[in-house]
């Protein structure tokens, strides 16, 4: 009789704690900048290996839709998002109260690719009268900044009639425009470069211009949210402040990234390939999802494992890098004034890591 | 005349019409009077039997534009002015421009509508529209005029006025007219002969000559002879039990 009672109590406990665990998880929507692929490996690992759950978060990772991540987060459909610095700062200048809370990639992976046969050796000198392929929705800024720096006008500038460079927008797949419609095409070092190679234009046939090498070193994948979320005293009735939720999200995300970078093969096999559909394979001869994502994982790891990360400060936005990005955007007239101080908030990152931003050397 | 579904629309219909006659076909609905007229005009073809119009088959007659046809409704082209509507057959038949105009204006004068040449059909009353359609049928000067209950939709007063006007036209132009109606007074007033038809299957019951003197006037309708003829027509219709059939 006694045995049965113990069993019943235990069972009640078990059911109760399970239900409780379900209830206590805080629902968080995180908007990714692109389709699921190794670019977001750390997020998938954090979700699937339970790092988010351990922080009390139930995170839904949203693939890109027809709106930019900032539009989605600003509208409240997602609480957090990943995007690039130029996109974030221009939105901030136009009054959208978005806030940078953690820097995932410490280096830029943006490149422009041209066939060697086009004879484009120096972009500034050779691009006049040519076409460049760009993705819209805030992904065109690195190219815009480069052309401005070269003194070339482009059709992305609403104040330039008869622009020097024609910008061609296209959805996702560079094969739509390259090399027939454009001489130069945007390509991320960890994705489209390999897709273009798969189309039959490998490194022997194309020149890859890394924008960082051309003085356009704009920070890319970062975590952001809105002032509304950060200042929330009781995030979705969880009892936690928005700041605390952001800190937990950063902590688990960095944990996920560290794990992914350390266990790349397993990450691709277990956490990337199962979530990525048609869009994560390469193109042409390299249209194999596993091969393409394994390569992408290695490339992305290089962008993560750089700068502050190598000093044990993963996720930290190095103030000098930030200032360099701001200065560049201001010089090229993409920003008209310095962003307000509230654009970057180190608080959640400090809370997540126990470090203090002012200790950075 | 047998329709493909086996319905016999017209059975015994032997009739000869002399030039300059005004023949009325009268009978209740379904007696085949419109069918007979459409056979004459080659708008439909008979399964058996023979029709000759001035020695030609109906098809030859139609192709040589030997007749004008006036329908139950005016059937005017609403995008054309009254004058342009009267000119329509002349354009199709390739009359030269100035002649088209002269003929159309003359025809409009004949039906008393010269003042409405520039109007569109919708600006005219039903009776006026039907007069335009008569002018149109006469515009290319066919010897023969087929009229299928042209005044059936009009009120009694308008109808009697148009009857009088039609008789004047007939006298002035000397056309041969075959006229379908279901109105006994109209048939008696207009015709030189009345063909009484009975239904199911449609056949010619009898032919009644009308010996009322010409020119006929409003007073003609009040004469004893008019009533006698009307009675004769009515009795012929009743004899064929036509009155029993209604659609």
């Amino acid at each position: 009789m006694k045995k049965w009672t113990v069993f019943a109590v235990l069972a009640c406990f078990l059911v109760g704690s399970l239900a409780g665990a379900q209830q206590n998880l805080i629902k968080v929507n995180l908007q990714l900048k692109w389709f699921p692929q190794a670019q977001f490996a750390g997020f998938f690992v954090a979700k699937e290996r339970g790092f988010y759950r351990a922080q009390g978060l139930d995170v839904t990772l949203l693939p890109i839709g027809d709106q930019s991540p900032i539009q989605v987060v600003q509208s409240g459909a997602a609480d957090f998002g990943t995007t690039w610095i130029a996109d974030l700062l221009t939105a901030r200048e136009r009054g959208i109260p978005v806030v940078h809370i953690a820097q995932i990639f410490q280096r830029s992976g943006f490149t422009l690719v041209a066939l060697k046969s086009t004879g484009i050796k120096d972009i500034c000198r050779d691009m006049k009268g040519k076409s460049v392929g760009v993705w819209p929705s805030g992904n065109e800024y690195p190219a815009v900044a480069l052309f401005r720096k070269c003194g070339l006008t482009s059709s992305l500038d609403p104040r330039a009639t008869n622009p020097d460079v024609t910008a061609v927008t296209y959805p996702f797949d560079p094969a739509l425009v390259f090399p027939d419609k454009v001489q130069l095409v945007s390509a991320m070092i960890y994705n489209e470069v390999n897709q273009i190679a798969g189309l039959g234009y490998d490194e022997s046939k194309v020149d890859i211009f890394k924008l960082a090498d051309l003085g356009i070193n704009l920070l890319e994948d970062l975590l952001f949210t809105t002032e509304r979320v950060l200042n929330d005293r009781n995030f979705k009735g969880s009892g936690l402040t928005g700041r605390q939720v952001a800190a937990r999200l950063i902590r688990a995300t960095l944990q996920g990234w560290n794990w992914a970078v350390a266990n790349q093969a397993e990450t691709v096999e277990k956490y990337v390939l199962p979530v990525c559909g048609n869009t994560c394979k390469g193109s042409g001869t390299r249209a194999d999802a596993k091969e393409h994502q394994t390569w992408q994982m290695a490339e992305v790891a290089k962008l993560y494992n750089a700068g502050a990360t190598t000093k044990g400060w993963a996720g930290f936005l190095v103030p000098a890098d930030y200032q360099a990005s701001v200065r560049l955007l201001r010089e090229q007239g993409i920003l008209t004034r310095d962003p307000p101080a509230a654009t970057v908030d180190y608080g959640p990152w400090e809370l997540a890591t126990g470090k203090r931003a002012r200790d950075w050397k | 005349m047998v329709f493909p579904n086996g319905t016999v629309a017209l059975k015994e219909a032997n009739l000869e019409v002399a030039p300059g006659e005004f023949i009325s076909l009268i009978g209740p609905s379904g007696c085949g009077k419109t069918t007979l007229l459409r056979l004459l005009a080659d708008l439909i073809q008979p399964t058996s039997g023979q029709i000759r119009i001035g020695g030609k088959s109906p098809e030859e007659a139609r192709k040589s534009r030997a007749y004008g046809y006036v329908f139950q409704a005016p059937t005017l082209m609403e995008w054309r002015t009254v004058l342009a509507n009267v000119m329509l057959p002349l354009e199709i038949m390739g009359f030269p421009g100035p002649e088209r105009r002269a003929r159309a204006e003359k025809m409009l004068a004949l039906v008393g509508l010269e003042k409405f040449a520039r109007h569109y059909p919708w600006q005219l009353s039903g009776g006026m529209q039907q007069r335009v359609s008569i002018a149109r049928a006469l515009a290319f000067d066919p010897q023969l005029l087929f009229m299928d209950e042209p005044f059936g939709a009009l009120d009694e007063i308008t109808r009697e006025n148009l009857n009088l006007e039609l008789l004047r036209l007939w006298r002035e132009t000397g056309k041969t007219i075959v006229f379908v109606t279901h109105s006994i007074p109209e048939a008696v007033f207009l015709s030189t002969r009345i063909v009484v038809m009975t239904p199911r299957p449609g056949k010619i019951e009898t032919v009644i000559p009308v010996d009322l003197p010409q020119p006929r006037t409003f007073e003609t309708r009040e004469t004893t002879r008019f009533f006698e003829l009307a009675t004769a027509v009515r009795e012929a219709l009743r004899k064929g039990h036509g009155y029993e059939v209604a659609e």
Binding site: S68, I70, Q71, Q74, D87, T90, A91, E93, R94, G95, I96, P97, S131, P136, S137, G138, N139, E140, Y141, S154, S155, L156, P158, R159, T161, P163, T166, A167, V168, T169, Y170, P171, L176, V177, D180, K181 | R38, A41, D42, L43, R62, K63, S64, R65, Y67, G68, Y69, F71, Q72, A73, T75, M77, E78, W79, R80, P89, I92, M93, Y120, W122
Partner: protein, 312 residues
Amino acid sequence: MKGWSLLVMGFALQIAFIVRWWKEVEVAPLGLRLLIALGVLLLGVGLARVAAQFAHARNPLLGFTPAALTLLALLVTAEALLRAYQVPPGLVPTPTRVVATLHGVRDVLLQDAYQTVLKEALVGYLIGCSLGVLTAFLVSRYLFLERGFLPYATLFSSIPIVALAPVLVKMVGIDWPSKAAICAITVYFPVVVNTFRGLTEVSPMSLDLMRSYAASEVQQYRWLRLPNALPFIFNALKLGTTLAMIGAIVGEFFGANGQGLGFRIQIEAGRFGFDIVWAAIIVASAVGIAWYGLVAWVERRLTGWHVSFRNG
């Protein structure tokens, strides 16, 4: 006259606030916001009374006055509210900002309009309409086409063909011909269906009449079916102007060659340049209305006889 004074007071109140708050960056205090509300009230009552005065206006310009005043009142109120609440221009730009931007970027927007309207929409429209009319003639002439093709045309004319845009951009390429193709296809089906109806919805008596004239088939089309179809064709042509504009703009969302109103809208919406987005929308609307008006004018000239234009 009382309506007018209310209206003037309402406008004065809103404009005074806008001038006062032109350079401020703070949300306006409650008192000022209540004044805006009062302004809205005055404008509303004033408009209602003024509109009643114009209810029987014969002159079309005078009849349009209440609508114009309403638009003006809405714009002034929007300007005041957006400034009072400091709504970021990246979300909703104020009307004055849109107008200033429209003026500032007019050259580029005109180039965009040239690409979108004259190349993409107009070329597609002309191709779609002429092929549509031609097809309708054939369908009305050959029964097997009416049985075998027309049901599909009817089906396609009632579904949003513009959903084909991404497919066509992928097939034809990102240059303007892919957008012209989208416009041509969206315009084509309604033109086929309407023209067919116009060519075939003729009274049997009219056909008998043509037969009694021994008219050839060509003559039958020339004198009866075509004129009868004109009002139907023009309905489709007017609808087509709207469809072609939509097709061209939406088509550019799926890939464009550095120019065009749709390209501009997409690029600027992505970077929160909504002042330019609105300016582009204004240009697109103006062009769309002008185009529709032109077709409607031609329609009036050619089918002035039609029942829809009769007045008394």
